[in-house]
């Protein structure tokens, strides 16, 4: 059995997850990679994608909307603005949100509001594309 290492997923608002993992699949900006124990020190940016964390408690799939990964001597740390467990994402609701968002873009009164709405839609579409 593979050795375990410390895995931490941190969002700006809180520490989302801190577990011992055996392997973590990370959606790096230059391709997916699997981090195992004693991985060489590495820093990489992330693209929107799904983290697959395998630990003692089974496999967890977590969507991240981009961010940053650091593998150091202590383990793997992921800084992500936006992290949602895949099982919490509701496909139908997501599609509804995208439609609502697109409507917001059309109805936006100011340039600022339009930009914000567009960003939101893009984020949701990124989520829909990988889940």
């Amino acid at each position: 059995m593979a050795d375990a290492f410390k895995f931490e997923l941190v969002s700006p608002e809180r520490l989302v997850l801190a577990v011992d993992a055996r392997s973590v699949v990370v959606p790096g900006s230059e391709g997916e990679m699997t981090v195992l124990a004693r991985h060489a020190p590495l820093m990489s940016t992330l693209r929107p994608g799904v983290l697959v964390v395998e630990g003692d408690g089974g496999t967890r799939r977590i969507f991240v909307g981009g961010g940053f990964a650091e593998v150091g001597a202590q383990g793997l740390t992921i800084l992500a603005e936006d992290a949602v467990a895949v099982e919490d994402i509701d496909r139908a609701k997501l599609e509804q949100d995208i439609r609502n968002g697109e409507e917001d873009v059309r109805d936006a009164k100011s340039e600022d509001a339009r930009r914000m709405a567009m960003m939101k839609v893009e984020r949701l579409k990124g989520m829909a594309a990988v889940v």
């Binding site: 931490e8 969002s11 700006p12 608002e13 790096g28 990489s44 940016t45 940053f68 800084l79």
Partner: protein
Amino acid sequence: MASLKDLRLRIASVKATQKITKAMQLVAAAKLRKAQLAAEAARPYAERMEKVLYGLSSTLKSSPGAPRLLAGTGASKVHLLIVCTAERGLCGGFNNSIVRIARERAFALSSEGKDVKILCVGKKGNDALRRNFASWIVGLVELRGVKQIGYVNADEVGKRVLAMFEAGEFDIATLFYARFKSVISQIPTATQIIPVEVPADAAVKSDGAAYEYEPDETAILSDLLPRNISVQIFRAMLENAASEQGARMSAMDNATRNAGDMIRKLTLTYNKTRQAQITKELIEIVSGAEAL
């Protein structure tokens, strides 16, 4: 001297005010706890971000290809002051102390011949700064109706600041907020966020491991720097939220105590007046009986 009826009304109204300030104090205490928890929960992210950023920055700062967010625009002509304050008053000197340091900075900069632009986050700061600097205020971000400050709120401000920076609207950005030290002490603070200030001792990396960078150091840095702006703003907002509640709590505690003192004094006057009136009536009766 006020009549007995006036005094009674006065006492009743002070009592009602005391009830309100007492309630506000309790609410602030509950909100303070929440705000502190949020500030603590946000710490790990900011700390790790800082570690990575400082490590990368100190190696890349002097290189010619360094991103502008790190190296600056090379000029220091236009300053942007981002002033974070509360949405409401009744919190002692909280808003005032932040506005004061921002105002001092703005005057100092303009006397040096620099241009100043002000972005207000929170209504109170805007209200106060409008008096002196109406033409310098470039925007106001209202957080009214935001119950719990989330990263999205900060990101919104961050994106706006970045867009302004990319459009060349300012050279140096400074963030004003109150750092939360304790319930009775909040320290108004100014932090420069663009270009990033790297402490001199940051070059020493904690674990000294040779990192492999993917894509490469410059690309990572230029991805990280804009994020850092939002994170810094988020942190300031959270500190501010905790400070605001702390300031309000102690202000309301004072108000409650003052109302108590006032009630005591008024009650004393009320009783004195009442007794004086009874004595006066007795004298009237006695002297009336003697006259017979």
